[in-house]
């Protein structure tokens, strides 16, 4: 029997009043906090009689240290940072400015270079950064500005009263495997906030609660996702220049899967590389970690890495759906920013600048609310107007139909993409619809046993220990640690479905799509098909893929005890 995490019922919790609570200390949350501090400082210096306090503005961050759960490629489009901190380049941790880029289409053995780099992938003027170091630096700015960051505290529940978001409950600490308080038990706090800003990143767990509670996905396209599996390598000097950018499409994926890779040259012979697999593939045995390992075996990639050493690993999902999937982003007592809202440009593979911009716009809204002491839905709704009137909307509008165009494979996708390019994003229809990625999974019975040209990325990767790695070895390099004696934070609402239905219908795709070996089917005597679900919850790298991709929608990712998770130093 697996016991799942949920806030302990019927206990008295410490209450704390707050003006603004920002859930999540990534680029969106930090930009939001910093912009809010700037606006308040500016106001206070001009209005000695009507001072606004920054004391009750808090950022909750589930990682033990700021930035440790942040993972991205990453390239930074500096547009929003220049608005937030003009001249930030002088002090921010930047690896290199992009100096060279190339796009390739890969077949199993060959590479075909695109004669010109497609305009959306032209990256001159962007910066190669480590999102981990960048966010750490932003976090320092936020703390210097006088805003408190609670690291090691996750938002576990929204407090909703009279159809209004009234605050956030933080995680219960010191709860054992059976959900019983231990000697070091500390109940989660009820942070009663005038406004809660959800900056949880991709597939936010509170955002999911909010969307479900208020049907925010009504009349929207379902959000679609990809999962990026990343490794950081140290390679012999001169192999890839700092600021050199390579994108590949094609192999190891077939024409029927969506996805592609990046290779970014950073400082000191460090190379960031990774593969994003669209979470809308057909074959439930597809293993995105295996896809990444297979891709590294392509002669072109293998030659780049030869003689190098893998030093870090990580994985994270990202929202692809674009403008039509963005839910309402403000309401009574709440706003949503960054990846939680789906502000990501899937054509340019960039979201950090939009996360920052949306955080700033939410900060401007929160500031106006504080000035007028009005946190109503109408007042906070002006955040939506700010988004509409900003370049954020303009950028996303142009690519509103991009990802949907690839629904029926690569070739059709390229056709739609080209058409959209010349029709200002429209393409064939005003609004391309889509369906959620997990609904595209085919039942095992309908798939040929030989893998249908995909055998090289189905099931577990073996790894040679040099160029390729098995999942556990890679996972070890993510530095993931959790308190072991706690309930499972991967909440499966009905494990019978895993052991009876899924095992025959889809072959338990959780074992494959999870890049951290959390889900395992182990032999057991007392179940009909001889296998039962087993969770290695403490392996979890917080990528949220399971919450997205499970075919029965029975997995809910909730935050584990704060402080646990990957350690993405330098990622």
């Amino acid at each position: 029997m697996i016991t799942f995490r949920k806030p302990l019922p019927n206990i008295e919790r410490p209450q704390m009043e707050a003006d603004v609570v920002i859930v999540g200390g990534g680029p969106a949350g930090m930009a939001c906090a910093l912009r809010l501090a700037q606006l308040i400082d500016e106001h206070n210096s001009k209005n000695p009689d009507t001072q606004i306090s920054k004391e009750n503005i808090y950022v909750l961050e589930k990682a033990r240290e700021v930035g440790q759960h942040c993972l991205s490629g990453a390239l930074l489009d500096p547009r929003s940072m220049r608005e937030l901190l003009p001249g930030f380049e002088k002090e921010a941790p930047i690896d290199a400015e992009v100096v060279k880029e190339a796009v390739y289409y890969l077949t199993e053995k060959r590479k075909i270079k695109f004669p010109i780099t497609p305009p959306p992938l032209r990256d001159h003027g962007n910066y190669v950064i480590s999102i981990n170091r960048f966010v750490k630096w932003l976090g320092q700015k936020v703390e210097e500005a006088g805003i408190t960051i609670f690291t090691g505290f996750a938002g576990s529940e929204l407090l909703i009263e009279d159809e209004r978001v009234a605050g956030v409950r933080t995680d219960d600490k010191g709860v054992d495997r059976m959900n019983q308080p231990k000697g070091n038990f500390e109940p989660g706090y009820d942070l009663r906030a005038k406004v809660v800003i959800l900056a949880e990143g991709t597939r936010g767990s509170l955002t999911k609660q909010l969307v479900a509670r208020f049907n925010l996905d009504k009349d929207r396209n379902p959000q679609t996702y990809g999962v990026g599996v990343k490794e950081l390598w140290e390679v012999p000097s001169g192999r890839i220049k700092p600021g050199e950018v390579i994108y590949t499409m094609g192999w190891p994926l077939t024409m029927r899967e969506y996805g592609g890779s990046w290779v970014y040259g950073a400082k000191d012979n460090i190379v960031s590389l990774g593969f994003v697999t669209g979470l809308d593939y057909e074959d439930p045995r597809t293993d995105p970690h295996h896809v990444m390992q297979a891709w590294k075996q392509h002669p072109f990639i293998a030659s780049l890495l030869e003689g190098g050493k893998m030093i870090r690993y990580g994985a994270k999902s990202l929202p692809y759906g674009g403008w039509w999937s963005v839910p309402p982003v403000a309401g009574d007592g709440w706003m949503i920013v960054g990846d939680s809202a789906g502000f990501l440009n899937s054509q340019r593979l960039k979201g950090i600048h939009l996360a920052i911009k949306s955080g700033m716009l939410a900060a401007e809204t929160a500031f106006a609310s504080m000035q007028q002491n009005d946190f109503s839905g109408a007042m906070l709704g002006t955040y939506e107007d700010r988004v509409e009137d900003s370049w954020l909307k303009e950028e996303l509008w142009k690519v509103r139909n991009f990802h949907q165009g690839f629904e029926h494979g690569f070739l059709e996708g390229m056709f739609h993409a080209a058409l959209q390019q010349v029709t200002d994003g429209r393409g064939l229809h005003d609004r391309y619809t889509t369906k959620a990625g997990h609904r595209r999974l085919h039942r095992l019975a309908l798939l040929p046993a030989d893998g249908d040209g995909r055998a090289h990325f189905l099931g577990k990767a073996k790894g040679d220990g040099k160029l390729t790695f098995d999942k556990l070895t890679d996972l070890y390099h993510s530095g993931t640690k959790h308190e072991e004696d706690q309930p499972s934070h991967l909440v499966i609402h009905d494990t019978n479905i895993c052991n009876t239905r899924c095992v025959t219908e889809f072959g338990n795709p959780c074992q494959h799509f999870c890049p951290a070996n959390v889900y395992e089917m182990v032999e057991a005597g007392d179940v009909p098909h001889g296998k039962t679900i087993h969770l290695n919850a403490s392996n979890c790298v917080h990528c949220k893929t399971c919450d997205i991709m499970d075919p029965y929608e029975i997995i809910t990712w909730v935050p584990p005890e704060g402080g646990g998770g990957p350690n993405y130093d330098g990622m």
Partner: protein, 329 residues
């Protein structure tokens, strides 16, 4: 007894808990700020010696609260005695060290008196006639000043280290000790206390073991652990396991070897049905000799083992046990 601070000092098994001196120091500082007086009380059966020791500090009075039922600590007896004493004397403020014993009975005591308790305080402030207690929040990131609503007596406990015990002021002369006999009826005590005992220290210290027999998922079922234990016994070694085994609760966590368990370096490490994921290897690669038995010839454990046995452990281990027993005579 208006405007008095009562410090309840702690004794266990007739031994004075010196952390109580920190609470006395704190009480003296509060008294200096407020002008209140400080008294102390100790509960037990024949603890006048402790009362006398406490009386050497600068205190207005020390109460030696005696009852045969207070000899062995029970929350029921302590609460009964203290409730009666506090109701009689009506101190304004009751202070205690935030010890395990106090944590055990203080909530019950204050609830019984219909009062509030501010627990685990790290300091106090006295501002404009209001006494505030400081508590840590968000794991020490924040401090909150808390004041009492409602009526006295007020209750607070101090975290260890909040004040310095050696700064508890000594009195010019010993404080008067008053013995208070309180009748604690037998029937209020709902727990029966057995002889105190010390739990044997963690039964096993794997890092000291010279021989370790470790099992992995290849052992299949919990009942097969017996076989591995027999081998460990025959060799005079300890049994250990990789994570899946401890995760399933087949062996206690303290026997888990690897990145989320123990790191060991025995003379001999026998790995039975362990594939050798890096998470396990980092915990045992320092072993002098590694013998691995696994049916998968490509199991990574073989890369670091000195002796590799490719085979079913259920075929290999039983004869091995026999041979070891024979060899050892």
């Amino acid at each position: 007894m208006a405007d008095t601070i009562l410090v309840v000092v702690e004794q266990r098994e007739g031994k004075f808990n010196r952390v109580s001196l920190e609470t006395i120091a704190g009480a003296q500082q509060i008294a200096a700020a407020t002008g209140w007086t400080v008294e102390a009380a100790v509960l037990g059966n024949g603890v006048s010696e402790i009362a006398n020791e406490v009386a050497s500090r600068k205190l207005a009075k020390v109460y030696d609260i005696e009852s045969p039922q207070l000899g062995r600590y029970t929350p029921d007896a302590f609460v009964h005695a203290l409730k009666q004493f506090i109701t009689d004397r009506q101190p304004k403020l009751v202070l205690m060290p935030h010890t395990y014993q106090v944590r055990d009975f203080a909530p019950k005591l204050t609830t019984a008196l219909n009062r509030t308790l501010v627990s685990d305080c790290t300091g106090f402030k006295y501002e404009g006639g209001r006494l505030l207690f400081t508590r840590q929040m968000f794991q020490g990131k924040f401090a909150a000043d808390v004041s009492f609503g409602g009526d006295a007596p007020y209750f607070a406990t101090f975290q260890a280290g909040s004040f310095r015990g050696d700064q508890a002021e000594a009195g010019i002369s010993a404080a008067q000790v008053e013995t208070v006999n309180i009748d604690v009826p037998e029937n209020v005590i709902r727990t029966r206390v057995e002889e105190p005992f010390k739990e044997a220290k963690a039964a096993v210290d794997l890092s000291q073991a010279e021989i370790i027999v470790a099992v992995g998922r290849g052992i299949k079922e919990q009942k097969n652990l017996d076989m591995a234990k027999q081998l460990a016994d025959a060799l005079g070694g300890e049994i250990a396991a990789s994570r899946p085994i401890c995760d399933s609760g087949w062996l206690p966590m303290e026997r888990q070897v690897g990145s989320s368990g123990q790191t060991v370096a025995p003379k001999l490490y026998l790995a039975l049905g362990i594939s050798g994921a890096i998470q396990h290897i980092v915990g045992m690669k320092g072993a002098r000799t590694i013998i691995a038995i696994n049916k998968d010839s490509e199991a990574p454990i073989f890369e670091i083992s000195d002796y590799a046995v490719v085979g079913n452990l259920f075929d290999v281990v039983p004869p091995l046990i026999e041979e070891v027993r024979k060899a050892k005579g």
